[in-house]
Amino acid sequence: MSVVPKARLASTASLVAHQARYDLRSFRRNSRARIFTLAVPVILLLILVALFHGGTVATGGVTVKIAAYYVPHIAAMAIVGAGMVNLLITLVAKRESGSLKRRRATPVPAWVLIAGDASTSIVSSLGIVAVLVAIGGIGFGLSLSVAAIGVAVVVAIVGAASFCCLAYALSGIVGNAESAGPMTQLATFPVYFISGIYIPDNVLPHWLLDVASVLPVRPLAVALQAAFVPATNGGSRFATVPILVVVAWGVAGLIVAVRRFSWVPRRSS
């Protein structure tokens, strides 16, 4: 009985586009989201590269220029910010204000609403990664090639989608919009440190890096690093194992999200 006519399938695709257009428009007008996801990574990149100006980092068995280290690492942080942190805050705020319930009362399929939010996160992730790479390339001599950019785009999309799934999973344990921000800061800040996002990973103890390697942030940074400097990954631009770790976290998040995600405000249930 649930046979979907062909015309309906075509209209579902346009429904996703319709939803994504309004979600992106909301994102553009939300200055909290803009500053958080776009301005903070750019400022951090400029400060860190200026701080260690002209220096090098030993990573993945080779020595790379400071910009070639920080561009992919800050890009990983930016993807976590846009894909997970911002989406999580937006989701909890929408749920608690009744906006999710409001949308659920319409005939639009649930996954269209999810696709709308997720595509906003992916598009903003790609946007910020592009800005960071451009700063690195133009300002700090990061060497760019079509292959490097192609792999980086794929890794950024996979990373953003995985962190979106984690946001949907975490929304089940965050009770209100006010605590969503501080809670995610608390969870992500130590992970950024041990993943070598702020301080180069050659100063971190090995056991700490081992811990970070099974968490989702460092593998994403390593995969982006490999896209630009294949030598850090034994010569291959495509860092398969780290990408699979990120995807595994995304799948785990998706499983939790399917079980725990709620459309109705916490306080009324």
Binding site: S26, S99, K101, A105, T106, P107
Partner: protein, 320 residues
């Protein structure tokens, strides 16, 4: 308790779920753990009527409405809304149902017009955005961002979002709570206009005047059970219950000076008199003949029928 039901509106538990009615409920139950919030209720809402669902906080109203809207899974009973079980209904069903939520905060970053356009895109045959803006009186605010609207304007926007898909059935959950009197009248006009368009309206409210002004049928819920059902004029035996005649005795008279009356007289300390009787005409006739013969003006005489609110308070207090 025994429910007065002169109009025979309450369905019997044995009768089958109706196919004609827009909403048909038999023996609906909902438990949260050991607590039973809804304890076997029956409802029938015919097409094109305004149905008012009343009851104190905690009576099970919101739970029942959320089950009818398809937001909650019931623990027992049969439910048909527009011919489908809301717990299993799909998007074709949702396209025929409009929902106005109790608390609404639509998209903060979009304008009123953008918000309506976004929702219009969810429906197969939406109404024109301009017409809905007009219908809910937000044309002048169309370009304002939703987070700059007043509470009353937000509720009207939410009503607009419920109507944009041109639904057959509209759920209105306390649609005028927090409105000033003129905004309330305006909202009533909108709701009455929807009925004229042939929509069926399921209204929950705390305001008895609202139910009286709008409803074709009223059901009163208390402690998870239906305690009365009927029209605003007849519910709870309102049409046949006693009328109160009251006035102040002329100076120097006591209740003993009154003529023989068909009902007991209760007198206050300052000469106020109240007489309760099922048949006000013979009572008034005896009183006015007596007053005319003696030249008493009885200037403050009043004849009072029980209000819906009095009936409601009596019924819900008996239960809780």
């Amino acid at each position: 308790m025994r429910t007065a039901d002169p109009a025979g509106i309450m369905p019997s538990a044995e009768s089958a779920v109706s196919q004609q009615d827009v909403i048909s409920v038999r023996g609906l139950r909902m438990s949260y753990g050991h607590y039973e919030a809804v304890r076997g209720i029956d409802l029938d809402v015919p097409r094109g009527e305004v149905f008012a669902f009343l009851g104190p906080n905690g009576a099970g109203k919101t739970t029942t409405v959320e089950i009818l809207e398809g937001f909650r899974q019931r623990t027992g009973g049969e439910v048909r809304v527009l011919g489908s079980d809301p717990a299993r209904a799909g998007s074709a069903w949702r396209a025929r149902v409009g929902v106005v939520l109790q608390e609404s905060a639509p998209e903060a970053w979009l304008t009123v017009r953008e918000c309506l356009s976004m929702y219009a895109g969810y429906y197969p045959t939406p109404l024109p955005v301009g017409r809905v803006l007009d219908l809910v009186g937000l044309t002048a605010k169309a370009g304002d961002r939703c987070d700059r609207l007043s509470g009353g304007q937000l509720r009207r926007l939410d009503m607009g979002l419920a109507l944009i898909g041109d639904p057959e059935l509209v759920f209105l959950d306390e649609p005028t709570t927090g409105f000033d009197p003129s905004a309330r009248r305006a909202a009533w006009d909108v709701i009455a206009g929807l009925r004229d368009l042939g929509k069926t309206i399921f209204l929950t409210t705390h305001y008895m005047d609202e139910a009286e002004a709008l409803a074709d049928q009223i059901v009163i819920l208390a402690a998870g059970k239906v305690v009365a059902a009927g029209t605003p004029a007849t519910i709870g035996g309102r049409a046949t219950s006693a009328t109160t005649v009251s006035f102040t005795l002329p100076d120097g008279l006591t209740p003993a000076d009154l003529p023989a009356l068909p009902a007991a007289v209760s007198a206050g300390r300052y000469g106020q008199v109240e007489i309760l009787h099922e048949h006000p005409v013979p009572l008034l006739h005896a009183l006015s003949t007596w007053a005319l013969e003696r030249g008493y003006p009885l200037a403050d005489i009043s004849v009072h029928r029980p209000t819906l609110e009095e009936i409601y308070l009596r019924l819900t207090q008996e239960t809780t």
